[in-house]
């Protein structure tokens, strides 16, 4: 590249920078003017804008109140349960213990009934002699009869 071409390129770059700066300045000036003009609105427009703003703010206030009340409501239920437990601690423990025992006995009874058919008491109480139950062929016949 010759010296003249190099100089021309430098001048072109400089012009480009100047144009960019000029564009930026123009944009900034236009924006400033527009912003300044936006401050001078008529009374009717200002009134509507104020009304819109008030409505939005009240909407947010209502929403935040609802959120707070919702938290309190759910918190109160848990608090009531906890408070009740604290107040009647012994009774609560007794109720839970009794429920567990009843459950335990219910399970035991259920399994007892299932085991009854094959227990010694069953053998002694049945009409057949005990030797009959030792006979595997008879036992198979007995099961098939039950089915």
């Amino acid at each position: 590249m010759s010296k003249n071409e190099h100089m021309n390129n430098k001048i072109d770059d400089s012009n480009l920078d100047e144009n960019l700066i000029a564009d930026e300045q123009l944009a900034s000036t236009v924006a400033h003017l527009l912003n300044d003009n936006a401050q001078h609105l008529n009374a009717v427009t200002l009134k509507r804008l104020n009304a819109g703003r008030d409505l939005a703010v009240s909407q947010l206030a209502v929403r935040q109140t609802q959120v707070t009340q919702g938290v309190n409501r759910s918190g109160n239920v848990l608090h009531w349960l906890g408070h009740g437990f604290e107040q009647h601690r012994m009774m609560s423990i007794t109720v839970i213990a009794v429920a567990m025992l009843l459950g335990f006995f219910a399970i035991q009874q259920f399994s007892l009934y299932n085991n009854l058919k094959h227990s010694d008491a069953f053998l002694l109480a049945s009409e057949l002699p005990p030797e009959a139950f030792a006979d595997k062929g008879f036992n198979t016949w007995l099961v098939s009869k039950q089915d």
Binding site: A27, T29, L41, R48, G52, Q59
Partner: protein, 196 residues
């Protein structure tokens, strides 16, 4: 979570600019007011739990989307209007001249400097209205709302490069239009920016 005072302060600071920006875009002051009010309500309803620092970007995004909804409804409405009008004729049989709907403001009572200023503002406003939508959006967000390229790109839903392109084209288009109107050099001192 923002407080009601933070929301109120933010909206008070931004509402006038938002109205003017919307008015330039939709060219209808009543519609612009409706759009701005809708945008305020949406911000409070859907993003009231966000911190106040996020409000500028959120509000601009909501405003742009609400304007797009308005244009879509207008398109559908115009389609029906066109279809129905093709079946009927106007009362006097003549087409309405759209120029008749343009308000002509009487400036004769204003002092000279204020008149010059208001006329210059009008020229700028008209130049801005003539810009393509995306260029106007980019210009408003970058230079009027003073958002950076990344924020502008997030609001417009495009890349940083697209934002720079739109901004560059917008500024060139404005410069050409203003030059055509005889406003080659806009100087702050020439336009008396003090309040009337």
């Amino acid at each position: 979570m923002a407080t009601t005072k933070e929301l109120s302060d933010f909206l008070e600071a931004v509402e006038r600019r938002a109205f003017k920006q919307t008015a330039y875009a939709v060219r209808d002051d009543h519609a612009a007011l409706d759009i701005v009010q809708d945008a305020m309500m949406k911000l409070a309803e859907k993003y009231g739990d966000k911190p106040a620092a996020e409000f500028p970007m959120l509000f601009q995004r909501i405003l742009q989307n609400t304007m797009r909804d308005f244009w879509r409804r207008q398109k559908v409405r115009n389609l029906w209007t066109t279809l129905l009008s093709s079946f009927g004729s106007s009362e006097d049989g003549e087409d309405r001249d759209p120029l008749e709907t343009i308000d002509v403001q009487d400036d004769s009572g204003e002092p000279a400097t204020q008149l010059e200023r208001s006329q210059t503002i009008k020229l700028i406003e008209r130049a801005l209205e003539k810009l393509p939508t995306r260029q106007r959006e980019a210009f408003v967000l970058r230079y009027w709302e003073e958002m950076d390229v990344a924020e502008t790109a997030a609001i417009m839903g495009c890349s940083d490069g697209s934002v720079k392109t739109h901004c560059s084209r917008a500024v060139h288009a404005l410069a050409l239009e203003l030059k055509k109107q005889g406003l080659e050099k806009l100087g702050l001192s020439n336009l008396m920016l003090t309040k009337p």
